[in-house]
């Protein structure tokens, strides 16, 4: 058993002596592996980054929030059926909250009515369009993790009274009041003046998932003054424990049916949605990255493997007499096989390490240049590239190494 260890270290030693003696040749051969590893690790980094960015965004939006709406978030055929569902009203949120309060061990925390509209906001000469204007109540602060940079959110009194106050997302505030504080300034939506009482902290945005930066919050009753009292609202309900979202959804459906006065056996006339669906939207992006990454990886590794196979054949040819000598001294077939396999694997591992270093440097550069983009370098990537490198080395080195191990010692010794 110890013998194989000595043979192994001897093989390593030969492999590195060999690579050192043929530096240029080895580097050129390893190029394919380097490119392959860079491709596979960058791909992994990107997909990793998307997941992490997504988690961050979810946390921002509140991943434990259930959305009570007319339509489910997945595609529906019978659109009219959903369209004709009864609308939601603010009082339903109050009714839900009463049920939640009286249910022992309720999995739900609070229900908040929310109405949203895209629209433009003006301040003097400046105007921003495409802002999500969100009308809600003071409870809104309980369902999202919005941080206020300056000022405050509106309170319950302002909310109920529909006072003309608003809280701006950071990029809305920056656009309307470039270089000066937005606090205590006045903005207009549809001709209604609103006092800015707060500005939210900057959050950054991620692959089009909307963040608070492009939002404006105001009391629901104030929103109605601009957009009419028939504006559709939805209910957002925060669950207490995000790991029990399914049970919370069940409870919410039961409570909503009571609020809506639905009879047993009647189909729900509302839908309960959750953020999970957003995640599916990212899958195509991830798939494209994965397919492109795997394609480049596969191609590069294929080219690399052929190069390494070739160089190992050359190495066996060049050292035929040495193989004969080693066999004469007692090297067995597996010893010779191991020796050339290790040589091929070593070249691949060096290529893999170089590829990893390039990916690491790229990650650092991206983090430096675009801090918003979440690139994540992980231990898993190191393991993956090691495994890929070793596998490439074994696959490409096997045929020549096998041939070397089977050489007739007499023939090998006579080789010049």
């Amino acid at each position: 058993m110890t013998r194989i260890v000595y043979e192994f270290t001897e093989s390593l030693r030969i492999a590195f002596a060999q690579i050192r003696a043929n530096k240029l040749r080895s580097v050129l051969t390893a190029l394919g592996v380097i490119i392959g590893i860079v491709a596979v690790t960058l791909m992994g980094t990107a997909i990793n980054g998307i997941d992490i960015g997504f988690q961050n965004s979810l946390a921002m939006l509140g991943e434990d929030v259930l959305y009570v709406q007319k339509w489910p978030w997945h595609n529906v055929d019978d659109w009219w059926n959903y369209q004709n569902r009864p609308p939601f009203r603010v009082e339903m949120a109050d009714a839900l909250n009463r049920i939640i309060d009286t249910t022992p061990n309720s999995l739900l925390a609070v229900a908040v009515p929310v109405a949203g509209r895209g629209g433009s906001v003006k301040a003097g000469e400046n105007s921003v369009s495409g802002v999500s204007i969100i009308g809600t109540t003071a409870d809104y602060s309980r369902i999202v993790t919005a941080e206020v940079a300056t000022g405050r959110l509106f309170n319950e009194i302002e909310s109920t009274a529909g006072r003309p106050v608003c809280v701006l997302g950071s990029s809305v505030a920056d656009s309307l009041f470039p270089g000066r504080p937005a606090l205590d300034q006045t903005v207009q939506i549809r001709g209604q003046n609103l006092l800015v009482i707060g500005v939210l902290a900057k959050q950054g945005d991620f692959l089009g998932i909307q963040s608070f930066d492009n939002q404006m919050l105001l009391p629901l009753n104030a929103l109605r003054k601009s957009f009419g009292s028939r504006i559709g609202i939805e209910l957002r309900v925060k669950a207490k424990d995000k790991t029990k979202l399914a049970a919370a959804t069940e409870e919410l459906i039961g409570a909503m049916r009571r609020v809506r006065g639905q009879l047993p056996g009647e189909r729900d006339n509302f839908s309960v949605n959750q953020q999970e669906v957003f995640k599916a939207q990212l899958d195509p992006i991830k798939s494209v990255i994965a397919i492109a990454g795997l394609f480049i990886t596969g191609l590069a590794l294929f080219v690399g493997a052929i190069g390494i196979m070739n160089i190992t054949f050359v190495s066996v040819k060049e050292r035929t007499k040495e193989i004969g000598t080693r066999k004469a001294l007692g090297a067995r077939r597996r010893t010779i096989l191991l020796q050339f396999l290790i040589e091929a694997v070593s070249i691949c591992l060096i290529g893999g390490a170089a590829g990893l270093a390039i990916t690491y440097a790229t990650c650092l550069a991206i983090q430096h240049a675009m801090p918003a983009l979440p690139v994540e370098f992980s231990v898993a990537l190191i393991l993956i590239s090691m495994v890929v490198s070793i596998a490439t080395g074994i696959v490409s080195g096997f045929a020549p190494a096998w041939g070397a191990s089977r050489l007739d010692p007499v023939v090998a010794l006579r080789y010049e």
Partner: protein, 245 residues
């Protein structure tokens, strides 16, 4: 198995033959070169005992190297029987032969066959690596073997930093480091000038006197005269077999 008494014949030491090491009977070897069949050995029988110093002579192409490779378990006979220290090796598989080559046989080649990128020490350690000897023991034994051939001060030289004679000494140290039953040398002086050749033959003489069993292949009478017994080959057959002089 060093014999205590070394009776001298003339000025030369002749050690009494020990037990049988090599016994071949009716060994033939055919090589196929395309359609042509070459009879390298046509039926050879030979017995070699411990403590012998044998020269195998013959013109070029007479089958000396083929016989040597067979005796050294690098090759197996096409037909015939080969017992090495009582074990039938004629039909052994590759790895079993490798084991015997590693433990029982020391090879010395005409072209030295040292690893060019390794120093003398590592070259000599090689058979011990394949024998599974731990590193510190390996180091010690290789150092000792190099000292025995007079290269104690050259252990970290690479082959290209050594003269031809020194290279062959490294090869001899490598052949002996694993204490083989027999030392096989195929034209060991063929690549050396005559003065260095004489030095190498003196080393063989010393090794013989120290108790080694040696077979030397050569086509030079001068070299063969160093041995105690000469086997002459011609066209794959033994022409004569007897003591020197």
């Amino acid at each position: 198995m060093i014999s205590p008494v070394a009776p001298a014949v003339g000025s030369r030491v002749v050690r009494p033959p020990g037990e049988l090491v090599i016994e071949i009977e009716g060994v033939t070897k055919l090589y196929k070169m395309g359609a042509e069949i070459i009879h390298a050995l046509r039926g050879i029988s030979l017995q070699i005992r411990r403590n012998e110093y044998l020269a195998v002579m013959g013109p070029s192409g007479s089958g000396k190297s083929t016989l040597m490779n067979m005796l050294g378990c690098l090759d197996t006979p096409t037909a015939g029987r080969y017992d090495f220290t009582g074990k039938n090796v004629a039909h052994m598989i590759d790895d079993e032969l490798a084991e015997i080559r590693n433990r029982e046989i020391g090879f010395v080649f005409q072209t030295f066959n040292l690893l060019p990128r390794s120093d003398a020490l590592h070259n000599v350690e090689l058979p011990l690596i394949y024998a599974g000897v731990p590193p510190h023991v390996r180091h010690e034994r290789a150092m000792q073997a190099l000292a025995n051939v007079g290269l104690g001060d050259r252990v970290h030289h690479r082959p290209n930093e050594l003269s031809g004679g020194q290279r062959q000494r490294v090869a001899i140290a490598r052949a002996l480091v694993n204490h083989p039953s027999i030392l096989l040398a195929d034209e060991p002086t063929g690549n050396l000038d005559s003065k260095t050749g004489v030095e190498i033959m003196a080393l063989f003489e010393q090794l013989y006197e120290e108790g080694h069993t040696i077979i030397v292949v050569t086509h030079e009478e001068d070299i063969a005269r160093h041995a105690r017994r000469v086997v002459r080959l011609r066209d794959g057959l033994i022409e004569s077999d007897g003591p020197v002089d």
